[in-house]
Symmetry: C2
Subunit: 426 residues, 2 copies
């Protein structure tokens, strides 16, 4: 029976029942964090050999550079090659960096603020205000970065196949202080959607008021398929070239969820002109990133096939966890009409939308029961979900056993919060 | 006989002789770079085992953190401990970063420009101009960084025991847009001098006009002794505390010339309040640096004794190279009165001062003979040596055999450029 069709008495009885279940659950003393998209220990074990054996006695890049020493700002060629095939770019369209793509994004924006990007009339910090478009729900660290750097955020809603492009086009064209937009175009964080070809082409054909507008294309999950039924994403760098806007996009990715979150490789891709410009700025910041780690990755994965095969092992570990979440939601929440959720083909998240006004309460209840979820609102600019309904479920880190328990709790919490809400409205 | 006492005929004859030697030397076809302070391949071989064996099966920090995964922004405790003893700071006064201290300096300054430091009334970029004091000759990358970030540089001369502190005190107190000073306090790049206790104490007791003034203390060579006759440097962080200026200094160091230039660890040290402030800013840039590399270093070196012992092996390789340079300068240049040079107890450089107006010509001649030196002027702000006399000699990378040849050429070039100069003045 749909909760929305229950009368006050029925809801009150349901509430009492759920409160009892909740109190009963608390006795388990569960203590689990599902707040972030973190690979499980078993996933980290997949590429252990890389560390131990693949650099045995040979520290030279095929370019001749000694990877132990200084230099090679844009990365050794064999590390570039891994990403070139993964992202469909040329050797002069990529810089392989350190262990964090977040750091490459932050550095790109703070340099833009302080110095400008290719084609800027002046550094962004010389404008009275700098604004970014933020399709939401989105990645909380993107939004936090804007806030930390004093960039005003304008929320753009999502449609089924990507951001609302009518809004993106209208806003980008309306104001030259709008300098960028955040995108997680494939297996998006947290919704799991992949931008359609039409959306990507409309991005490539944007006519922003700001001549130095940039699309920040965080392609974090480009090879992170959950099953053989892959999503497909158009190559934005290619499409921007075709559209005559070759310099409008910065694409980021990393091996954080391929090899190691703490010891992987990050990458920025863009047009050759953009990359040349970035390298000129970057040469004052560092002489080069960790080439030994670049060489380790290149030797271990060998090529894009090696990466692709490796990702199948990751999927084998994490897909069952997505199944556990979806099974429980369908069984416990589906018949009650108190939530919607995504069924992603890849990535690290399931996005859950509760009845309006319930997300904070659900997260609070879950915490009381021993499961820490991503803070409600975190997926929106300034941490403010206008409907207080979106919750990001990150199922990868717990074991299947833990997750089974956590989902029992989660469903109790969703039901209880919904009943409380509906009762308050009676 | 001193060149300055030669008459025109004697100088002309000497010039002809030197030109003949120079042309003869060119026939060797030497091709050598001595432009930068780069460890020799033999030095990089010293710590090879670190990479191969020390992470065998154990990826946990003693804090319990899995070093393969996300987190631990300020570095794992065992990596901190290496630096705490090396630099005399507490666990809450240090952040262990990635592979580049230059990057930590750049990031610190660009954040200061964009966001300010602890105690800033406003971000530095909101001032009409931002200025740094630059004791010179100094490290060219410090100066290049200022120039790239639009920071005006004010040159301060060096004395025997450090920067001219009368000038530093006077300038720092004179203008609140003077926000910082660059220092390489131990085995300075390029002069090799170590700041005296009095100089360090005067630094700690500075009364700058800017309340958010910072000393950028690049202690890159703190354990890089050449012999057992060590220089001694006072602990600036300690002295700043004693002087009631605990937040006035940022100290940087790295293992670039301890383990690997391309795959070492960098560190920033400062007061706990500074570090807390930096961590708050830094949390938007990255989730954490490469902890696997931090664990490698901690396991390999074990403790500060391990580092100290390791540095003796480095010294055994590079000290003979310093001897080759000094021997040749004393023998070939000393008697002629056409140059002065330093005899450092550590670090990576010998600083050579030619007759005024000769440095560019010497570097040009050396290049013609097959040896690339650091560009003349590079050791001064804006690349402009007012006397055109300073040349930074970086003897570590070439083999002793190559260096013996390079020094024959260098001495010919110094003599030839000096004779040309003296003749032009006749």
């Amino acid at each position: 029976m749909l909760y929305t069709e229950m009368n006050k008495e029925e809801l009150t009885a349901e509430k009492a029942l759920l409160e009892e279940q909740y109190e009963e659950f608390k006795k388990k003393g569960l203590n689990l964090t599902m707040a972030r998209g973190v690979p499980a220990p078993e996933q980290l074990d997949l590429s252990i050999n890389m560390l131990l054996h693949c650099l045995d006695g040979d520290y030279k890049s095929k370019s001749g550079a000694d990877c132990r020493s200084y230099g090679v700002l844009d990365g050794i060629p064999e590390a570039k090659e891994l990403f070139m095939e993964m992202l469909g770019v040329g050797a002069d369209e990529v810089i392989v960096g350190g262990n964090s793509s977040l750091q490459m994004m932050y550095d790109t924006i703070i340099r833009a603020m302080q110095l400008g990007v290719l084609g800027s009339e002046k550094p962004w910090c010389r404008y009275d205000s700098v604004k970014f478009l933020c399709p939401a729900p989105g990645y909380d660290r993107h939004f936090a970065m804007c806030e930390a750097l004093g960039i005003e955020m304008i929320t753009v809603p999502y449609k089924e196949d990507g951001p609302d492009m009518d809004e993106v086009e209208r806003l980008a064209a309306s104001d030259e202080s709008i300098k960028g937009i955040w995108c997680v175009p494939m297996y998006s964080n947290p919704t799991g959607i992949t931008y359609s070809d039409e959306v990507v082409r409309r991005f490539a054909n944007l006519k922003p008021a700001a001549k130095d507008f940039r699309i920040f294309w965080d392609n974090a999950y480009c090879v992170h398929h959950l099953t053989n039924d892959h999503a497909h994403l158009l190559n934005i760098i290619e499409e921007c070239k075709k559209a005559g806007n070759p310099n409008m996009v910065f694409e980021f990715s990393s091996t954080s969820k391929i090899s190691f979150p703490g010891g992987g490789l990050a990458v920025i891709c863009a047009s050759k002109d953009n990359i040349d410009f970035i390298k000129k700025q970057m040469a004052f910041q560092t002489i080069g990133f960790d080439k030994l780690n670049q060489l380790r990755h290149a030797k271990y994965f060998k090529n894009f096939e090696g990466v692709t095969e490796h990702m199948r092992h990751h999927a084998a570990i994490i897909y069952p966890k997505f199944e556990v979440v979806l099974y429980n939601l369908e069984k416990e929440i589906g018949p009650l009409g108190i939530g919607k959720w995504t069924n992603p083909k890849g990535g690290y998240f399931i996005s859950f939308d509760s009845l309006p006004g319930c997300a904070k309460r659900i997260v609070e209840l879950a915490k009381g029961g021993g499961v820490v979820l991503t803070g409600a609102g975190a997926t929106f600019p300034y941490g403010k979900d206008p409907n207080d309904s979106n919750i990001r479920i990150a199922p990868t880190y717990p074991s299947v056993g833990e997750l089974l328990q956590a989902m029992v709790l989660f469903c109790i919490c969703v039901r209880l919060a919904s009943v409380e809400k509906l009762l308050a409205e009676k």
